[in-house]
């Protein structure tokens, strides 16, 4: 009886992914405990977030990709309407207009778009696959630019970046011409100095600080400088769990959320960082395998985009904390405190599992 229920629970769960995810979450809880200065409350609340997100992952894994394909368009339209609602009636919190109060509770529609946009674009390309022309790519790009623009205006640079990346990956995997890709890159390189000369001094200064935090050590550069000190002083093996002086002495800002990787790096050192990278690498590799084995265009593109988006989270977060990328608000998957992004990420993995485990059903039908 119990084994039957267990079987039912396990049917659509990919053991490899599940193993990596569980391990990451456990590591995350330990780091959070240290980063929050030994707060059980924080850990408990994050544990609840994880359980909720895992439930959603399970639901997604048990949902047939057929169904996802059917709801792609309505979901995208709904997300877009909600985004417009935010722009018009949204609530402002911490200087950004991101939340929409629906009476029963507040929602953050931009988070929904992280999944809805790649679904929509994958659906579109799957539908048009017999007669793809450049116009389709242009239209798809438009579908991408509108929500990204709205989110950038909120302003929420981190989310806009993630969604732009998710959408771009679909375009790229769907075969966007190399000519356009290279042409785009070249023209961006050419336009950059022109934009630079057109900018106001204060705008330039802001960008300069992004790349050289020491220009504004008390302001925008403070995060990056303190994070570099934390990472660097971790050395090869780290200072040990709960022993990070930077983290424990209040020098690190946002150390339970976007900058939690600095705590990890300080306490577990280069070795810990490398192992964490490998763990994420395994998740990504599995995602790519699932994408390559997917049986139709929709699932292939969606799986590819979800995997590459997960990579983007990891790279952008670690990049900004270690100072190779400018600071944009992107959390570190499974480790940063907070439920919203965790739900989105595990929803993505749920879809990956669904795509992988519903395969045989599809081919027989």
């Amino acid at each position: 009886m119990i084994s039957k229920i267990l079987d039912r629970l396990k049917t659509h769960i990919d053991p490899f992914l599940m193993g990596c995810i569980s391990f990451s979450c456990i590591v995350g809880l330990f780091v959070l405990y240290s980063a929050s200065g030994g707060s059980f409350e924080r850990v408990l609340s994050q544990l609840l977030n994880i359980l909720a997100a895992l439930t959603i992952m399970w639901l997604a894994a048990n949902t047939s990709p057929h169904y996802l394909e059917r709801i792609a368009l309505p979901l995208f339209v709904l997300g877009l309407l909600l985004l417009l609602g935010v722009a018009l009636f949204g609530e402002i919190s911490h200087g950004a207009r991101r939340w929409l109060n629906l009476g029963v509770g507040r929602i953050q529609p931009s988070e929904l778009m992280k999944i809805a946009v790649p679904m929509m674009l994958a659906w579109y390309f799957a539908k048009r696959e017999q007669s793809l022309r450049w116009v389709d790519y242009a239209f798809a790009a438009l579908l991408l630019v509108v929500p990204v623009g709205l989110i950038m205006k909120q302003p929420d640079l981190g989310t806009a970046l993630i969604i732009a990346a998710a959408g771009f990956y679909v375009l790229f995997l769907a075969g966007l011409s190399w000519k356009i890709l290279i042409g785009g890159a070249v023209s961006a390189a050419v336009m950059a100095p022109i934009f630079w000369s057109l900018m106001h001094d204060y705008q330039r200064k802001r960008i300069e600080i992004l790349f050289d935090p020491y220009q504004d050590p008390l302001g925008a550069g403070y995060h990056t400088i303190q994070a570099s000190i934390a990472l660097g002083s971790g050395g090869f093996a780290g200072k040990g769990w709960m022993e990070g002086t930077q983290s424990q002495l209040d020098f690190l800002p946002e150390r339970t959320t976007d900058f939690i990787f600095a705590v990890f790096g300080e306490e577990f050192g280069f070795l810990g960082n490398a192992l964490l990278l490998i763990l994420f690498m395994l998740l990504i590799a599995r995602g790519l395998v699932i994408s390559s084995q997917a049986q139709n265009t929709f699932t292939r593109l969606l799986a590819g985009s979800i995997t590459l988006t997960f990579f983007t989270y990891v790279f952008v977060n670690m990049g900004m904390v270690s100072g190779v990328l400018p600071v944009v608000g992107v959390p570190l998957p499974f480790v940063s405190y907070g439920g919203t992004s965790l739900v989105t990420i595990l929803l993505g993995f749920g879809i990956l599992m669904s795509i992988h485990t519903h395969k045989t059903l599809m081919s027989t039908s």
């Binding site: 050590p217 008390l218 302001g219 660097g232 002083s233 090869f236 280069f270 960082n273 590819g304 270690s322």
Partner: protein, 639 residues
Amino acid sequence: MRLRFEVKNHSLEQYQYSLRLSVSTGFILLCFVVLLGRFFYLQLWKYDYFQTLAENNRVSLVPIVPNRGLILDRNGVTLAHNFFVYTLEITPSKAGNVEETINNISQFIEVSAEDRKRFKKLRQESHSFESVPIRTHLNEVEAAKFAANRYQFPGVEIRSRLFRHYPLGNLGVHMIGYIGRINEADVKALEKSEDISNYKGSDHIGKGGIEQYYERELHGITGFQQVEIDADGQAVRVLSSTPPVPGDNLVLSIDSKMQDIAEKAFENHRGAMVAINPKNGEILSYVSMPTFDPNLFVDGIDADTWKALNGSLDKPLINRPIRGIYPPGSTFKPFVAMAGLQDGRRHPPFSIGDPGFYTLAGSAHQYRDWKPGGHGQVDMQRAITVSCDTFFYGLALEMGIDKLTSFVSHFGFGKKTGVDLVGEIGGLLPTPEWKWRRWKQRWYPGETVIVGIGQGYTLVTPMQLAQATAVLANNGVAMQPHLVSSIQKHNGTENHLMPITKLDEMPLDQRSIDIVRAGMVDVTKPGGTAASVGAGASYNIAAKTGTAQVVGIKQGAKYNAGSIDERHRDHALFIAYAPAEDPKIAVAVIVENGGHGGSAAGPIARKVMDYYLLGKEPGAATDASKKTEPPTPEDAPHD
């Protein structure tokens, strides 16, 4: 057939997709190698460096607040400066029971009721971890007394802070402004302009006047020190420091002596005065009466004083020259006259016989002249001199409202002058379109008629009126009015003159200029409406008086200054420039409820011009010479 095509297409697609996935994988690996490289650099290569930094962290960054720039008058007289004072400050979050702490402090150091009130207000405005002054201006003895008993008071400390001081007190407060503690709205504004990190450590920010408009220049750039901290959080030694850049000094075009003369000339009246050098737009005096002491705001004003200032019927906090709006009354006539002349109307020998009123064709309504029975035969020059209403009623109607307003707008009416102060109002130059937009009503010819004498919807600020007078004096060339004439950078070692800019240039005929000027010069001669103002002057003054009704007078009724409440009396207006032949100063004066422009506002302008042109300070000699002059019959109580 179709099947084969699809299959082929599929395998091709599969191949393409695999290629894309491989490229993606390569990109991911590359990015991870970059990350690993960075970790290697930070954690292995530069480990010793960051290890030391972390050891010393323990190293904290302490902001060093720059000295705020000075504000000086044109002769170098200090209008705003800084000095160090000892303050006794409480950090509520560290102090435990704050009330009890204050009571205990008062056993060593005097803490007045005002101090407590101010502390209460400031505490409400601050976070609990910010330190709030309970006493300022501690003397050495008090500081020593507290230091000896410091151990009893956790969360209380003596600090040395830079205080802003306005040595001339009330003088020119609306122009200079003052600084006050940074409040939430200021923080938001600073965040928006991305200046917030420059205010780490700053408590004060400019509020109003030059202090606000030139906040960026005055504040300077905050420096910072890397300080090593011991286990208790006390600074042990300075590791490195970037010195702050002090704020720029501002030199105003104001002469503080002249400002003082002007303010005193107002006696107890409310009102405003602006004097401008018409040739370059420099503002020479800027008066708003009544005034108040800006030093009250520096330590944080206590609630009662604030209430008294804010609630006063005299409204001392209003910056009248740029925020007070008044009907220009007859001071508008020279500008209407110039419009008419430039439009080719009313040149000599044109004249009218003034019966004392004006009627529109087909209407019984009489637009009355201020002088019952009229002025007799009046040409343009005389119409200005005697302020003939009837003459200007007809002129305005004949020109039409659109032509009239579009011409006089070149004098700066109906728009902000752009003076270097915050909060300027643009006044109002009415047009039919404006009325339709505002009231959804059509424009009546009768409304055009009264615009001719500066009544109706027309509203001006004293700043606009002074600027318009300066443009008139400068033969139609409008210079940008400004208060700051130069900025001294780096402790005064570098002097940057503010640019003098031309705003507008009206092509005026010399003939029109001569007629208007002659009419205005005669205003201050026997027979003019302000003959007493010109009496005994060694230079020619071109002027115009004006009166603005505060309460409407019914058709047929008579205005009687004595019988109505002081606050309902007419506002007195006066504009002038001198010397008439080569104007060096243009002045606009408004005395609220002062009655007649010539007698209430004119003498103020005269005192200022005497000082500016002749260096003469108001004293017994001038007063005596004035009293010997009998008032001319034309120097009427109404213009």
